[in-house]
């Protein structure tokens, strides 16, 4: 037993719910394992029950449903990046994810895991926030949809209830939008963001007609910046922009970067989006 952890196989979601309902231990879900195994070896996950969900077909699939692209939580980044459907319907996502972690990790890591793990530096989250994605959550009680911008509630905390898991991500397919994504880090790939910023917008000349901006690594969880969006949509001054940004981000100093640098980079990225 690795650090007192126990693995349980499940055949389907209903099997999972039946088994996890009576589980008295802490429990979590094991999909691709790229985050969970690091947490096991650092003893951040111990004496827990791990439900192995990697083979569940109910969590797989990339499809178009009405005006939405729906990606199963168990799909790997490799599958998403190489999906012709993603490339044709939401090219922003596949183009921006090319430098996610490394090709080796892309072949194992899942989009559901990236969201559920809840890291403030998760690469997929700012992109999905800028795309105004919904997450589909599933439990024994059935499914519910939550806007991704309302999913996180704190550092590695979310609205997920015990026994509930991320089933899919739903992205509205939009035509005629422009995209901006920049991940600032110490290497081009296989790296963790110091700051990341994603935006989906449309412009008439210099003026924004529509705009959604999301940032990662600047708060306890990745988030949209509604105040900054409002200033930019209203054509506000640089001072107003800086104030809005100050009100919405709380960068920290850690081993990867410092707070002041992160703030300046965020300002610069927003300015390059504006100009």
């Amino acid at each position: 037993m690795m650090n007192g952890n126990k693995l349980v196989r499940v055949e389907s979601l209903s099997d999972l719910f039946a088994k996890s309902a009576s589980c008295k231990d802490n429990f979590c879900y094991l999909a691709g394992g790229t985050d969970i195994n690091v947490q096991i070896s650092k003893q951040m996950i111990k004496d827990s029950t791990l439900y192995f969900i990697s083979n569940l077909d109910e969590l797989k699939g990339i499809l178009v449903n009405g005006d939405e692209l729906v990606i199963g939580s168990g799909e790997t980044f490799g599958n998403i990046i190489n999906s012709k459907l993603v490339k044709s319907k939401v090219p922003f996502l596949s183009d921006s994810l090319v430098n996610f972690a490394s090709p080796l990790l892309q072949n194992a890591a899942t989009i559901g895991g990236n969201i559920a793990n809840g890291s403030p530096t998760a690469d997929a989250t700012p992109l999905l926030l800028a795309l105004d994605a919904d997450v589909v959550l599933v439990s024994a009680e059935g499914e519910r949809r939550v806007k991704l911008c309302e999913y996180f509630t704190g550092y590695k905390k979310s609205v997920l209830k015990k026994g509930e898991l991320v089933k899919a991500v739903a992205i509205k397919i939009e035509d005629g939008k422009s995209y901006f994504y920049k991940k600032v880090s110490s290497r081009k790939s296989l790296t963790i963001a110091k700051v990341s910023l994603a935006a989906v917008y449309s412009k008439d000349g210099d003026k924004f007609d529509s705009l959604r901006i999301a940032v990662g690594s600047l708060n306890e969880y990745a988030r949209r910046l509604p105040k900054v969006e409002k200033v930019l949509l209203g054509g506000g001054s640089d001072d107003e922009l800086k104030k809005a940004l100050q009100a919405e981000i709380t960068p920290i100093t850690d081993l990867r970067s410092d707070a002041e640098y992160r703030f300046d980079v965020a300002c610069n990225l927003i300015n390059s989006l504006r100009n």
């Binding site: 094991l30 790229t34 972690a101 080796l104 990790l105 194992a108």
Partner: protein, 155 residues
């Protein structure tokens, strides 16, 4: 007992299903070509082909392999393309200490066999999950370029 196909043969392993795949390969199946470097998915020394795609076997558990197809550097090295890759790395002096080489070898095998070209930028991207700390990447990239060209017609 967990059963899977390893290097073309069916194997069964009696070990903790949460044991990391690289440790199962090395300790239970005595295939020590696959190396443990960082043990957290960053260095690529443990790269194996999982269902034909390169992954870091240190971030996978034995359970992931159940019923699947896993190929290690031992299989890759014995293949015709593996021979071409080894020769190209030798010719370009692209292996110094050799610790990262099994991982580079597996990733390069996948890159070439899935149609990768000798374009240096494409090679860099494909190899970006494999870290080398002594030879330097320029020689490694040149070796992969050479292998791409030498591999034409080799299956």
């Amino acid at each position: 007992m967990i059963k899977f196909n390893l290097n073309g043969k069916d194997v069964s392993v009696d070990a903790d299903p949460l044991k990391s795949l690289v440790r199962v390969l090395r300790e239970d199946l005595e295939l020590t070509g696959t190396k443990i470097g960082c043990a957290e998915g960053e260095c690529g020394a443990c790269t194996v082909l999982f269902e034909g795609k390169p992954v870091t076997s240190c971030t996978m558990n034995l359970i992931h392999a159940e019923g699947k197809d896993v190929k290690t550097v031992e299989w890759v090295a014995a293949s015709k393309l593996g021979e071409v890759i080894k020769k190209a790395f030798y010719e370009e002096n692209a292996v110094q200490c050799g610790f990262c080489f099994p991982g580079f070898m597996v990733t390069t095998y996948h890159y070439i066999s899935s149609g990768g070209t000798d374009d240096r930028e494409s090679i860099k991207r494909a190899l970006s999950g494999n870290v080398c700390r002594c030879t330097g990447y320029e020689k490694i990239i040149s070796a992969v370029q050479r292998a791409c060209n030498d591999a034409k017609g080799v299956k």
